[in-house]
C-alpha cells in the first residue's frame, strides 16, 4: 500500500500532549496540502487524547500555527488555488487553507476513533504499561495492514511488539521537541521490522521535511543514551565537588561549565529541568530495566521527585522550578534538598563561584554568538586548544565533562546503539543544538 493511500486515514494517539500536538500539526498541514494536490481523494486525521479541554486547545493550536504556515507558503498556495475564482486575496487564500487543514480532523477520547487508520503515530506518556495497553487495543481494532510509529524515548520497540503481538508493524519514530520545528527524527528499526514500513518511514520524513538518523533498538537509543549518561556524570561531579564547595555552588558550577565552557545552549541542570525531572527519572528507569549493571540510576533524582521538585513547563510554556529556580527564564536560585529551599544566586554567590572556576578561556565565545559564525568550526577547535592548556578549576571540570561525553558517545557506537560516530554527532547537533558532535579530536 502506498503512502498516499495510507495518508487517507491517519491517527495520532496522545495527540494533545507536548509531542502529540506537534506531530498532529505536521500531519494536519500535510493532509491539507495533500488534499489540494489530490482532489479525488479524501483524507482523515484522527486525533485521540483523554481530555476534551486538551483536544479543543489542540484545535486552536493547529489553527494558529496553520495561519503562520499558510503565510509562509503563500506563493505555493496561490498556485494551488489558481482555479478558485472566488479566492483572490492572500487573506482569502490563507483562510481557505486553514479551513482545509481543519476539515480533515476528527477528535475523540477513545481509541475506537483509530479503527480505520492505516498509519498511527503514538505519543502517549512514557510508561510501559500504558503503551502496552494502547497497542493491545489498537492491535485488535485496526486492520492488519496498519503500521505504528511510536515516539517512545526509551522503550525498546521489540518489547512493545512482543507484548502486543504486532511484530514487524512498529517502528521507532522519535521526533524531537518541538516536532514542528526540530528537523531530527531518530529512526529505530527493530530487526523484524517489515520492509514496507522501513521504506514508508523514509518517505514520511521526506514529506514532513525531517532528517532521519538511524539508531538500533537498544533502550534509550542515541539521544537519551547520551543525555541520561551526561546527566549522571554531572550529578556525580556535583557529589564530588560538594565536599569542598557545598551543594548549591557545586550544582551552579557544573551547570555553568556544561554551558559556558562546553559552548552548549543550556547548562545540564537547566536542560534536565526543561525536560522535566520526572521525565528524566522515567527514562532512566526504563533504561535501567533493560541495560542492567550500568549504574543507570540516581538517588538524587529520586530524592527530588520525593520532595515534589519536578521542573518541566507550565501549560503556557513557562519554565517550572527544578534543580534551579527561574525568573523570566533565567536561573536565580539553586535548590538544596537538605534545607528544601532555594539558595539565591545573587552577585556574591556568582562571584564566589567565578573566582573558584577562574577565568573562562575566551569570554567572547558562547554558543549563541558562534551559532551563525561561518568560522564556527575553526573557532571551536582553537577554543578547545586553549582550554587544553589552562590550569583553572573551570578548565579542569570542562575537560572532564568533555571526556565523559565523548566516552559515552563512543560507547554508543561500540555497543551497537549507533551505527557510526557521525550518527551520534548528528543527533547531538540536530536534536540538542550542540555546535559540535561529541566524537571529535578537539582535545587531542
Amino acid at each position: 500500500m502506498d503512502l498516499n493511500t495510507r495518508l487517507q486515514n491517519v491517527a495520532v494517539i496522545g495527540a494533545a500532549g507536548k509531542m502529540g500536538s506537534g506531530i498532529s500539526l505536521l500531519l494536519a498541514q500535510e493532509l491539507g496540502f495533500a488534499s489540494l494536490e489530490n482532489r479525488s481523494r479524501t483524507f482523515i486525521l484522527n486525533l485521540v487524547d483523554i481530555s476534551d479541554l486538551a483536544l479543543q486547545g489542540l484545535i486552536r493550536y493547529i489553527k494558529e500555527q496553520s495561519v503562520k504556515t499558510a503565510e509562509k507558503q503563500i506563493n505555493r498556495l496561490r498556485e494551488l488555488y489558481k482555479d478558485r475564482v472566488d479566492l483572490v486575496e492572500n487573506g482569502e487564500i490563507i483562510n481557505e487553507f486553514v479551513h482545509e487543514v481543519l476539515v480533515h480532523i476528527r477528535t475523540g477520547k477513545t481509541l475506537d476513533l483509530a479503527k480505520d487508520s492505516l498509519l498511527v503515530f503514538e505519543a502517549v506518556f512514557e510508561k510501559e504499561e500504558l503503551k502496552f495497553e494502547v497497542y493491545n487495543k489498537l492491535a485488535s481494532l485496526c486492520p492488519k495492514e496498519t503500521y505504528f510509529l511510536t515516539n517512545t524515548s526509551s522503550i525498546p520497540i521489540k518489547v512493545i511488539t512482543d507484548a502486543c503481538g504486532i511484530d514487524g508493524r512498529v517502528i521507532g519514530y522519535h521526533f524531537y521537541n518541538p516536532p514542528a520545528v526540530q528537523k531530527l527524527v531518530e529512526l529505530i528499526t527493530p530487526d523484524t521490522c517489515d520492509e514496507e514500513l522501513k521504506v514508508l518511514s523514509l518517505e514520511i520524513a521526506k514529506k514532513l521535511g525531517k532528517k532521519i538518523v538511524p539508531a538500533n533498538d537498544i533502550a534509550g537509543f542515541i539521544g537519551n543514551g547520551h543525555f541520561m549518561r551526561d546527566g549522571l556524570h554531572a550529578i556525580s561531579e556535583v557529589k564530588r565537588l560538594s565536599k569542598e564547595h557545598g551543594y548549591p555552588q557545586a550544582i551552579y558550577m557544573v551547570d555553568k561549565v556544561s554551558r559556558d565552557y562546553l559552548l552548549r545552549p543550556m547548562g545540564i541542570f537547566q536542560l534536565i529541568d526543561y525536560v522535566g525531572i520526572d521525565v528524566f527519572q522515567l527514562i532512566l528507569k526504563v533504561m535501567n530495566k533493560y541495560l542492567t549493571k550500568q549504574g543507570l540510576h540516581s538517588d538524587l533524582i529520586d530524592k527530588y521527585m520525593e520532595q515534589g521538585v519536578k521542573g518541566g513547563q507550565t501549560s503556557s510554556g513557562a519554565q517550572k522550578d527544578g534543580f534551579l529556580k527561574y525568573e523570566k527564564g533565567k536561573p536565580v536560585g539553586v535548590y538544596n534538598p537538605e534545607t528544601k529551599e532555594y539558595v539565591p544566586v545573587d552577585d556574591i554567590f556568582i562571584k564566589a563561584v567565578d573566582e573558584k572556576l577562574g577565568l573562562h578561556p575566551n569570554p567572547s565565545l558562547s554558543w549563541k554568538n558562534l551559532l551563525k559564525d561561518p568560522e564556527k568550526d575553526s573557532k571551536t577547535q582553537n577554543y578547545f586548544t586553549s582550554l587544553k592548556e589552562m590550569d583553572t578549576l573551570g578548565a579542569e571540570l570542562a575537560r572532564r565533562y568533555y571526556n565523559a561525553s565523548k566516552e559515552t558517545s563512543e560507547k554508543l557506537v561500540k555497543s551497537g546503539v549507533a551505527n557510526k560516530p557521525e550518527d551520534v554527532n548528528s543527533v547531538l547537533t540536530l536534536g540538542f543544538f550542540h555546535l559540535y558532535g561529541p566524537i571529535n579530536d578537539y582535545l587531542k
Partner: protein
C-alpha cells in the same frame, strides 16, 4: 492645462515620523496611534507656524485606503479634529492611490485659483501597519486594475509589477550596472534618511549599505528581481502644508522668505486597464513632468532639487529618466556616479524619499511638497542642499504609472 491666473504659494509644511520597521519606537505587537493622531500631529505642526488657524479657509485630505487599512471613511470630516476653528469649513478627501498626496496639492492649487479660498490646508495620511505586509499587499493591489489583475497577480502584487519592470530594464540596458545602481539608490536613500530624524531609516546603522542593497533577490519568498531593500517601507505617517495666494500667506503673518511659489503643475491620468506599452519607461510620468515644465517654462538645467516617487529603487531610476534628467538607459550611471546625492549635480529625495523616509502611501505626495518647500526656504537642516538653481521639482505617482502629479516650485 491653462496657465495660473495668479501666483500660488506653499507655506508652513510639516510631517510626522514615518513609523514602521526600522524605527526604534516601533513594536509590531504593541498598540499604536491611529489615523486621527497622525492627521492632528501633522495639522498642528502646520498651525504652530502661522498666526491663527481662523485664517485657514478650506481643507483637502489625501488618503489611499483608510477604508481597508483602518475601516474608516469620511476622512474630510476627521480633518476638522485638527482644530475647532476648522469645524464647518469646506473640506474634501481626494484619492489616486499613491499619488493621492500629489492630487491633494493639485486640488489645493485649484481651490486657490478658483478664487474661493486664500489658504488651503492640505493633509496626506496613511496608517498601514494595522495589517501584516502579506495582507497589506492585497489592499495596495487596489492601485492596479483589481478585477482584472489581482487574481493572476503575485502574492506581493506591486513589488512583482516593478520586478517585471526591473527585469525588462536589465535586459535592455544591462543587468550588472542596473543592479548596482539600485543598490546605490538604496544606500543614498538611507544616507539621506540618517540626516532626517523623522525618517523611518533614521536609526539604520548598517555599515555597508551598497552590499546590503546587492542582496540576491529570492523569487521563492519574494520577487524575481527585487529584494526587500529595493522596496519602500510599510509606514504610518502624515504630512501637511498650506497652499496659499499672496494675500493668503500675508494674512497668516508670513513673509516671502517663508514661502515658495508653485509655477508649474502637471496632472495626468493614464488608462488603468491597459498594460504599459514599454516596461522600461514611465510614459505617463514623462507627460506629467513635461506639462509641469512647459507651464513653468524651465528646463532641467534650471532645477536644483528633485523629489521622485521611489516606491522601489527601480521606480526611482525610471523616474529620473521620465523627468528628463538623463536620457533612457542612462539613469544607472548617473546614480552610481553619485550625481543624485546631496552633493551631486541633481540632488534627489534629500530627506530619504520613499525608500529612506518611508511611504505612508496617501501622504507621500504631500511629504514631497514639504521637503521641496524645506529646501526652498532653507529649513531642511541637516539635509539642506546648497542650492545652485532656484527651482525644485516633484513627481507623485499612483499605481503602475497611472495617476501622476508633477509640481515645480521656485524660491
Amino acid at each position: 492645462m491653462k496657465n495660473f491666473n495668479k501666483p500660488v504659494y506653499l507655506a508652513a509644511g510639516a510631517y510626522t515620523i514615518s513609523l514602521g520597521t526600522g524605527r526604534n519606537e516601533f513594536h509590531p505587537k504593541k498598540p499604536r496611534p491611529g489615523l486621527d493622531y497622525y492627521i492632528q500631529e501633522a495639522g498642528k505642526a502646520v498651525l504652530s507656524q502661522i498666526n491663527s488657524p481662523e485664517n485657514i479657509d478650506e481643507g483637502v485630505i489625501a488618503n489611499f485606503m483608510a477604508a481597508r487599512f483602518n475601516r474608516q471613511g469620511n476622512l474630510a470630516s476627521l480633518m476638522t479634529t485638527i482644530h475647532p476653528s476648522l469645524v464647518h469649513k469646506p473640506m474634501i478627501r481626494v484619492e489616486g492611490a499613491c499619488a493621492s498626496g500629489g492630487l491633494g496639492i493639485a486640488t489645493g492649487v485649484k481651490n486657490i485659483l478658483s478664487g474661493l479660498a486664500d489658504v488651503v490646508l492640505v493633509v496626506g495620511v496613511e496608517v498601514q501597519n494595522t495589517v501584516k505586509a502579506i495582507y497589506g499587499a492585497d489592499i495596495l493591489a487596489g492601485a492596479g486594475y483589481y478585477a482584472g489583475e489581482r487574481k493572476e497577480g503575485h502574492t506581493y502584487f506591486f513589488p512583482a509589477k516593478f520586478s517585471d519592470r526591473a527585469g525588462a530594464y536589465f535586459e535592455k540596458y544591462g543587468k550588472d550596472i542596473t543592479r548596482q545602481a539600485m543598490a546605490h539608490w538604496y544606500a543614498n536613500a538611507v544616507e539621506n534618511a540618517r540626516l532626517n530624524p523623522l525618517a523611518q531609516e533614521y536609526h539604520n546603522t548598517c555599515k555597508d549599505l551598497v552590499s546590503q542593497g546587492m542582496t540576491q533577490p529570492d523569487a521563492k519568498t519574494f520577487t524575481e528581481h527585487l529584494n526587500i531593500f529595493d522596496c519602500s517601507k510599510v509606514s504610518d505617517g502624515a504630512a501637511a502644508i498650506l497652499v496659499c495666494s499672496e494675500e493668503g500667506y500675508k494674512k497668516l503673518g508670513l513673509n516671502s522668505d517663508a514661502v515658495c511659489e508653485i509655477i508649474g503643475l502637471g496632472q495626468v491620468m493614464a488608462n488603468l486597464i491597459s498594460s504599459p506599452a514599454d516596461l522600461t519607461e514611465l510614459d505617463a510620468s514623462r507627460k506629467a513632468a513635461n506639462d509641469a515644465r512647459d507651464m513653468a517654462n524651465v528646463g532641467i538645467g534650471d532645477i536644483g532639487v528633485f523629489e521622485v516617487h521611489d516606491c522601489f529603487t527601480i521606480s526611482g531610476l525610471l523616474s529620473i529618466e521620465a523627468l528628463g534628467i538623463v536620457g533612457q538607459g542612462k539613469a544607472p550611471e548617473l546614480v552610481i556616479n553619485g550625481e543624485t546625492k546631496l552633493t551631486g549635480k541633481y540632488p534627489v529625495n534629500t530627506g530619504g524619499g520613499l525608500v529612506g523616509y518611508g511611504h505612508p502611501t496617501g501622504a507621500s505626495g504631500v511629504r514631497m511638497a514639504v521637503d521641496l518647500w524645506k529646501q526652498m526656504t532653507g529649513k531642511a537642516e541637516k539635509f539642506q542642499v546648497d542650492l545652485k538653481k532656484e527651482h525644485g521639482m516633484l513627481i507623485s505617482m499612483g499605481g503602475n504609472d497611472k495617476s501622476l502629479v508633477s509640481v515645480i516650485v521656485k524660491k
